[in-house]
Amino acid sequence: MAFNATLRVSEETATVRLVGELDVSSAPRFNDLIAEAAGYKLSRLVMLADELTYMSSAGLRCLVFAHQKMPPGVEIMFLGAQPDVAETIKLTGFDRSIVLQEASER
């Protein structure tokens, strides 16, 4: 399945909506948006992941990249993560550096 990511910036919040499968081939697209978001003065970077159905370690590297790009103090939130995606993040300890909110049971 294809991957799509869109960026919206409003006030000091950048929102990236992630849809589809984030793997090594689609990660560059996500990285581009993060770099673009880093150009704004932000206090929060929100990733809406409820429609993200798959994420490999390439996706994790994007999160690391986001963490490195954002100035200290910018809150990074990963919202609505599906169980397997959330598990991937927790497994590697990333949930300690970002705010991870899992999807409620459906």
């Binding site: 793997d23 090594v24 798959y54 994790l60 999160l63 590697t92 300890g93 300690r96």
Partner: protein
């Protein structure tokens, strides 16, 4: 049991292929969605690692094979990069390190191992071989294996034994029943009734004694859109009966038909068939695509080498028809001016094969032939000029006297033959051809028939002469010799050139159109070149009832018009 394999080149992005591969496997194996997710993740992480670190982002082979054995679903990933054992790089305590402090990377393998039930590594020769294993859950296993039955695997699987009643059939039936199958019997003749009557059986056991054709037909009786019973053959008296069936791809069982053995064997057959279905579907689609591609390439080559326009001297009519077969052949025709435009070269030829190879050979031979004719006629112009003039004004020369055009014709054909035989013999191609040079002014026709069908010279009064071969097919032997023959076309006479697609056009009952019908149609339509082509074309079409012909159908007619009668 290997079920399917996929070979990839890391130089291109391969994650999608890997994902699709695992997806098909997971579905067939009935893995839970969570298992499918993590198996895919593991496969992606391992292959990405190979691509990025093993091959450093460049090209390199990655081979995936997969299968299932009992409750195990496995994927084997092999590569030819330097030795790397992922198990040595397992990170046991990733949570101890702060995210930002860690290098971006190194998580992949951790993720890969996370939910796999087993992971193995070995260095096999010059390859790294990783094996990823997931266990199927018993409930999932049963439900998945038997989508339409309620009970666990095989316990109430229906088996239909198709054979003439015999001791062997009885023994098999007994074995199956004791093995827990719900057994029915049918003779080959009442199968149809069974097929229409009820729910299709899960397995068909067909006697190999019926022969491969009947086995194949019977196995298709129960096909429905979404399901195909697994066909297994068994021998009745003679084990060698199995051979053609096995070669055809059927699984088999052999006596003694012990219940446990049968059960185990049939479970494997059934499982394999389930998996093969999807692999076969994929393979069929892939091979159809490549076939279509080949077909269109060959068509383009073939069409590109037919003359764009046909030079027609005054007082003559020329018509051609070229009807390519569904499977592209190597027919071609050519009409071109030679001897400084004073003579007309006419060629019809048939390369002995079909497909892209034949089309390329056709393109080559046509080019060599034209070139050789050009070269030879240039030389010939210098030496034979006076003779040609003498001939044009004087009476017709006796057939034994060399005529203008004979030299180039002979030189072109022998030159082409020895070139093709010397340089292209290994491909094993050759072609039959009829090459004529016509002097439009006098009607003199010189020709060489290189192993081609006898071509027909049809006189104004309806008599005909067949122009039989004057040498072997071109490209077979380097030292073939050819003889130039001579004929003359008077007003109203036609030369009808054709390939075997015409005489070998097949009727639905398998009969051939044949030379006699060809000549008959040609003679009846000798009033003009286009009538002749149209008449023969229509006759073959009617005869073959418009069914797909296996061979190209190529015809060329040249007719000397009657002197304008006013």
């Amino acid at each position: 049991m290997a079920v399917c394999g996929l070979t990839l080149d890391c130089g291109t992005g391969i994650t999608q292929e890997v994902a699709d591969f695992v997806g098909v496997l997971a579905k067939k194996a009935g893995l839970r969605s969570e298992q499918a997710y993590w198996l895919r993740l593991a496969a992606e992480e391992i292959t990405t690692n190979i691509a990025q670190h093993g091959y450093h982002g460049g090209a390199g082979l990655v081979q995936l094979t997969a299968g299932m054995e009992g409750d195990r679903v496995w994927i084997r990933i092999e590569d030819e990069a330097p030795e790397f054992d992922p198990t040595k790089y397992r990170q046991d305590c990733p949570r101890e390190t702060e995210l930002a402090e860690r290098a971006a990377g190194g998580h992949g393998l951790l993720l890969a191992f996370h939910k796999l039930d087993e992971f193995g590594y070995e260095r096999a020769g010059s390859r790294n071989r990783c094996t990823l294993i997931m266990f199927r859950e018993p409930a999932v296993l049963a439900a998945n294996e038997q989508p339409r039955t309620k009970d666990p695997i095989m316990s109430s699987t229906t088996a239909l034994v198709i054979a003439e009643p015999s001791a062997v059939t009885q023994e098999l039936g007994r074995g199956l029943t004791l093995g827990g199958f719900d057994v029915r019997h049918a003779t080959p003749d009442d199968v149809e009734l069974q097929a229409e009557a009820g729910i299709p059986p899960d397995m068909l056991l067909i006697s190999a004694a019926l022969g491969i054709r009947r086995v194949a037909l019977l196995s298709r009786q129960f096909l429905t859109e979404d399901r195909a019973p697994t066909t297994v053959v068994f021998p009745e008296d003679d084990v060698t009966e199995l051979e053609p069936c096995v070669r055809f791809g059927f699984d088999y069982v052999v006596p003694p038909f012990l219940p446990t053995l049968l059960r185990t064997r049939l479970t494997t057959c059934w499982e394999r068939a389930q998996l093969n279905t999807s692999v076969e579907e994929m393979a069929t689609v892939a091979s159809l695509r490549s076939y279509e591609r080949e077909l269109s390439v060959a068509r383009e080559i073939q069409a590109g080498f037919l003359p764009e326009e046909i030079p027609c001297p005054e007082g003559w009519q020329i018509d051609v028809q070229f009807r390519p077969a569904r499977r592209v052949g190597g027919d071609f025709y050519d009409v071109f001016r030679v001897m400084d435009g004073r003579m007309l070269g006419l060629v019809i030829a048939d390369v002995c094969d079909k497909g892209v190879g034949a089309a390329l050979f056709m393109a080559l031979i046509r080019t060599v032939l034209r070139h050789a004719t050009d070269q030879a006629s240039k030389l010939n112009l210098l030496s034979i000029e006076p003779l040609e003039e003498a001939e044009a004004s004087g009476p017709a020369l006796p057939a034994s006297v060399p005529a203008a055009g004979a030299g180039p014709l002979l030189a072109a054909v022998t030159g082409t033959n020895s070139y093709m035989a010397r340089h292209h013999r290994r491909q094993g191609y050759f072609c039959t051809l009829f090459f004529a040079i016509l002097d439009p002014g006098s009607g003199m026709l010189l020709y060489i028939n290189g192993g081609h069908q006898p071509q027909a010279l049809i006189r104004a009064d309806g008599h005909y002469t067949l122009l039989a071969p004057t040498g072997p097919a071109v490209g077979m032997f380097a030292h073939s010799s050819y003889v130039v023959q001579r004929e003359s076309l008077q007003p109203g006479d036609s030369l009808f050139m054709y390939t075997d697609g015409v005489t070998e056009a097949r009727a639905p009952d398998g009969g051939l159109f044949g030379l006699e019908r060809t000549l008959d149609a040609a003679i009846r339509h000798r009033e003009s070149a286009s009538d002749l082509i149209g008449g023969v074309g229509a006759a073959t079409y009617r005869y073959a009832a418009a069914i797909d012909q296996s061979d190209d159908l190529t015809m060329l007619a040249i007719r000397r018009a009657e002197a304008a009668a006013r």
